[in-house]
Symmetry: D2
Subunit: 301 residues, 4 copies
Amino acid sequence: MNQVLAEVADEVAEHIGRGKVADYIPALASVDPHQFGMAVALPDGTCYGVGDWLAPFSMQSISKLFTLSLALASDDSAVWARVGREPSGSAFNSLVQLEYENGLPRNPFINAGALVVTDHLAGHVGDAADAVLRFLRTESGNDAITYDEAVVESEAAHSQRNLALAHFLSSYGNLHGDPHSIVDQYIRHCAVAISCRDLALAGLFLARQGTLRDGSRVLSGRQAKRINAVMLTCGTYDAAGEFAYRVGLPGKSGVGGGILAICPGRCSIAVWGPGLDERGNSVAGVAALDQFTTTTGWSVF
Amino acid sequence: MNQVLAEVADEVAEHIGRGKVADYIPALASVDPHQFGMAVALPDGTCYGVGDWLAPFSMQSISKLFTLSLALASDDSAVWARVGREPSGSAFNSLVQLEYENGLPRNPFINAGALVVTDHLAGHVGDAADAVLRFLRTESGNDAITYDEAVVESEAAHSQRNLALAHFLSSYGNLHGDPHSIVDQYIRHCAVAISCRDLALAGLFLARQGTLRDGSRVLSGRQAKRINAVMLTCGTYDAAGEFAYRVGLPGKSGVGGGILAICPGRCSIAVWGPGLDERGNSVAGVAALDQFTTTTGWSVF
Amino acid sequence: MNQVLAEVADEVAEHIGRGKVADYIPALASVDPHQFGMAVALPDGTCYGVGDWLAPFSMQSISKLFTLSLALASDDSAVWARVGREPSGSAFNSLVQLEYENGLPRNPFINAGALVVTDHLAGHVGDAADAVLRFLRTESGNDAITYDEAVVESEAAHSQRNLALAHFLSSYGNLHGDPHSIVDQYIRHCAVAISCRDLALAGLFLARQGTLRDGSRVLSGRQAKRINAVMLTCGTYDAAGEFAYRVGLPGKSGVGGGILAICPGRCSIAVWGPGLDERGNSVAGVAALDQFTTTTGWSVF
Amino acid sequence: MNQVLAEVADEVAEHIGRGKVADYIPALASVDPHQFGMAVALPDGTCYGVGDWLAPFSMQSISKLFTLSLALASDDSAVWARVGREPSGSAFNSLVQLEYENGLPRNPFINAGALVVTDHLAGHVGDAADAVLRFLRTESGNDAITYDEAVVESEAAHSQRNLALAHFLSSYGNLHGDPHSIVDQYIRHCAVAISCRDLALAGLFLARQGTLRDGSRVLSGRQAKRINAVMLTCGTYDAAGEFAYRVGLPGKSGVGGGILAICPGRCSIAVWGPGLDERGNSVAGVAALDQFTTTTGWSVF
């Protein structure tokens, strides 16, 4: 695996620094684009890495995968009654689809869907962000993982659109908590700083049919497979088709430049490169995953 | 004019009680649908009425006409830089158009536009609702006009969608005040209770080229004409074409069942009937205005 | 009136040549933008003109007003069962609205609506274009008015979108004739070349409550008023609100640079300037009408 | 495998006859809903079946998978320059997306995309439908496969919407052939009648990395995988997410009630049951595939 990673890193070198760092908040705009890391975690917990794989970066939307997993663990059907499972065909923070479809977000990975999932989880555990943080620490074995407070503050100062989404969901009866509190929790779980190593380990349960580090199950095998299916069809904004076409693995990306991909039964993979393509996915990250499945033949197709 | 009104009332009798009272808030749902009133105010301030023309009803969106007039009086071009003048082709509280057109509401009479206008007015006068209330009292000569507190409370308890609009406008930089404060002022000016008599008198300046009761001007003649033009093309939700076709006068309606129509140079007309058609305009009110322009020939066309 | 026209022409001089000549077909793209004409026809048939008021130009969408008038004359309610009367809020040749509203065009002046009206008229008279041409000749007293064959050919070579609209309408059962034949008639009535003088005379019946040159009626007074109402709310593409705001008269524009405006009871006005603004209306034409209503005070508001 | 199929058939029994047979054309509306067949073809060409697996049914949209494969075989990048790879979030025959995205269909499986692919293929082989038919005959070894002429006629009599799409694409320069001819070819390849057995065999190349029956390659391994990726994200109308969630295999459905699913490296599966759910997928077919992956564990996730 170390050799595979070295080959991938070689191939990807020319893409590092390409794309555009997320600039909608100052805390992300200041990240150095010339970084790249990748980690692969095998089912037994062994973890291989290359480049800046130990450097923490902002999780952003990748956290939506963990809120979803924890929410489904608490009450599967209640979640799916409030959010759909279809690709949206619209921008991740669009209100249009929500209005045309009466307040039911198309999937848990667009902002509206993630707010609903956060709201559901908050209803079960009190603070959804803290629940996600605990999970990440436990599964990675790294208690130092925490919120990036500069990102939290920066996001909070630019939260009008998410507040609009939350109030809008509330007007349809599809947000039960206080809109401002739910947006606050949402901002915090997105603002967790995590390394490729820790992220790959934290996501390993999805490659291991729902089994956690300690051998217990957070999800049934069927549930884990189904989360992978939702990731494949909806996990990379409006580029899910392209990602499936090029990479061929379930994956969830974030505007911090990270991507978590799952190779069922084989491994979990975390990549990070801050430069984004026009649809908000890491240029180097997608290239690395493309090369990884080409080299290993581990596409699901 | 008394005879004209009597004839209109006769013709309209069969429409009274038809349609559906607004039921999105309890305070409006409980209104008796079998009421009808109409008042006509002539340029000299004489006012004629028929039916329940002295009974107060909830202004609702008709107040948007007064916030617009006061906002334009303070700074015409600044308002038009923040809101368009075109019919929307969408529901009055839709977020879709706003998203497609980057936060610029199509016109001042859809909710998003009215929030922007309220925000602008608040920036000049402190409290936009109180400014509207003062104007209505002065022009009608009736200091008893006030907010219907039951409607204010009912609206406040159902304000999630307007809060969504306000935060959404804020995300585009097109709302300067605090979203919750602007929605509060918006709710209050919509919750003014007013009679047909007082409404016709308060709107008379638009039939009198901008001249107020005391002979001073709130708007230039050109501005008054232009507000009438915006009313004609945008004043009756998604039925402006139909209203122009049937009635042929500039008009602004509200879901309380009221309509204020302007016959430039001749009169202002206020009608009220709580039963609404499917587009939110008073069934009896539109029928009465249709008959009025047929009898008098006072359509602008 | 000659002095009014001279003043208007003076004021408008700086706008002549501004804007962009329609360039979607070669036959229009080659028109010299530095032309301007204006004609005013009084109810008694007297006609005043200025500038290039005798030069023929391509009617384009202005012809939709005449197909509508002739169609309504044949069977009013049948037409309104197939086409709405509301502004569209979309581009004139959009298919979106049509799909969302199940094949019922929003109004008779967007392309879809004009195709339905042409189809209706064709069902009554055989060839809708020839019927329009006969009407224009009779009312203007100019038998030399005819189709511009270069425009006909140019349009026919670029008719895919209108063919799409026609087949789409047909799929909803809202086009009864053969789509290719209806589009052909549509193209021809849009390709009539006419001067300001002849256009003002041909449209005079709308300022004269439906009365034709020979004293007979093509429409009732009520019908004529209602066509004026539809013109005001829908006659200038997605700028109807702006046109009502600035000019304050019912008007119908075409991408050939012409506009026909109606001042009910007073006159009909035809202006022409080939340079278009971004919404497809003549820059000089709108400026001229704006100045005309400012000078004369003949806005309907 | 026979036992797996028997178990699946048992489980599915209660779903047979459920749903609604496609009724937009008489030739499909008359199909008996109480039929069900399923066939599984292994990489070596062995084929197992159950129920009505030898009865021919109308392919409908499943043919789009074969036009796509043949088009990609001729010129991969030229196809992807004319059609996207993203799920649409809209109805399969919608014109809205096409208008918003300037004539580039979102994927090859919505009607607009399939028309573009048909047009591309026609440019290479003359008649796209005949090319598909030859391919189906060769791969299944059944020369009796042919067009259902009743379906062809029925479709041709209801082709206005597809003609609208074709002219619309043409207006964007994204259809090179004659719109009527392309729609005709499209109708014919959709009207092929084929059995589950023959369909499973014809689709086997996608489970065999692009290798045909005779051992030659129609597509590279990479191309075959990528077609599977497009099927998974876009193959089942606006239910691709749900299908991935429940079944976990790439699949392409048709309104004739058939579905072709691919289990990469393992098998191809054809199911048929005429009753459709509200999104146009076979009720019994989806249930059978759901049970199949549950029993075998052969989901890709």
